[in-house]
């Protein structure tokens, strides 16, 4: 339900970032990394992005969302690595288990709750570029 506000936060962060150093061309793709613990509808996030960017220099750009597996650290045995998942299929049916794969203790999440813009794909002005 908070896709719109998160899309707006992404938009504000990107605009602030590009304010002093605008890209030479039209932004086509905005590459986003999303931790797999976050419950986000990609359809809703992309639609929110389309609406928010309308009439701005980012109009016409699309979000490309890459999922980041959950990484955990165990305070008991020191294990650090990817969380164990249960279930199969797409991300809605694969659930990260927040217990240590080695010793079963509750783990801390090192990575998996974040949402970040990492890169842009830009089309050069006056051509399709290469």
């Amino acid at each position: 339900m908070h896709e719109y506000s998160l899309a707006f936060s992404l938009f504000e962060a990107l605009r602030a970032r590009l304010a002093g150093d605008p890209p030479a061309g039209k932004v086509k793709l905005v590459h986003v990394r999303q931790g797999e613990l976050l419950s986000l509808s990609h359809e809703a996030l992309k639609e929110a992005w389309r609406i928010i960017t309308e009439g701005t220099e980012l109009s016409g750009s699309e979000l490309s969302i890459e999922l980041v597996p959950v990484r955990v650290r165990c305070p008991r045995c020191g294990f650090e690595g990817n969380a164990r998942y249960i279930g199969e299929g797409d991300r809605h049916f694969r659930i990260p288990v927040l217990s240590c794969p080695e010793c079963g203790a509750r783990v801390e999440v090192v990575e998996g709750r974040d949402l970040a813009i990492v890169a842009l794909t830009v089309e050069e002005e006056g051509g399709r570029g290469g």
Partner: protein, 214 residues
């Protein structure tokens, strides 16, 4: 086409930092805080009232934050029970966040509290994504919601420390086997503690308190 690398700026980092700030403030005052989540009508408020009663019998001072989209019904129940409380109306926001809690803490007599229950907005999706700065997270599910609640909302159950299966006194009437809910929870959350309870009769209250470390 060319790519521009932008590094890595997590837009949710601010939420985590605020939650960390809340945690620091609460622990510096010696307050143990718990984030109580669960669906609308699962019995979060009744459960907190029962837990508070038991904690007060042990000489501990309990406060509460009531989070709801609108209204002050839960807040008034806390006040009537003599529990210092702050009401948060999120308006249309479907979850509490660390920023809302930070402000709510300003309205509580922190010097006079040992335990704080933060009752989240009734919702099993979004609250999981917004840490508040509490020591533990509790999720309440009642048997009247059906046997399949954990399977339908796995993420929130995977992330919580304690599961309270509430209204077990109604299990037979509604034809739900609470053990099935507990078994589903054990699969996705091996370290979590599941407790069968009834906020009405008081069943399970002692067990919940031990799971919370009291």
């Amino acid at each position: 086409m060319h790519e521009i690398n932008l590094g890595y700026e997590d837009i949710l980092r601010k939420q985590l930092e605020l939650a960390g700030k809340n945690y620091e403030l609460l622990s510096s005052r010696g307050i143990r805080a718990f984030n109580v989540m669960g669906a609308i009508g699962s019995g979060k408020t009744s459960l907190i009232l029962k837990l508070a009663e038991a904690l007060r019998e042990r000489g501990l001072r309990v406060g509460a934050i009531a989070g709801d989209v609108a209204g002050d019904d839960d807040y008034r129940r806390f006040i009537e029970a003599g529990i210092p409380a702050v009401n948060i109306n999120t308006r249309d926001q479907c979850h509490l966040d660390a920023h809302l809690v930070e402000h709510a803490l300003e309205g509580l007599p922190l010097d006079k509290l040992d335990v704080l229950f933060i009752e989240n907005v009734g919702n099993l999706v979004c609250p999981a994504d917004f840490p508040l700065g509490t020591e533990m997270e509790i999720v309440v599910v009642s048997v009247t919601e059906g046997e399949d609640m954990v399977r339908k909302h796995p993420k929130i159950f995977a992330q919580t420390d304690v599961l309270v299966v509430n209204k077990v006194d109604l299990a037979l009437t509604v034809g739900v086997d609470p053990k099935r809910i507990v078994a589903d929870y054990g699969k996705i959350n091996p370290h979590g503690k599941a407790i069968l309870a009834s906020a009405k009769s008081g069943r399970g209250i002692g067990e919940i308190l031990s799971a919370l470390g009291f």
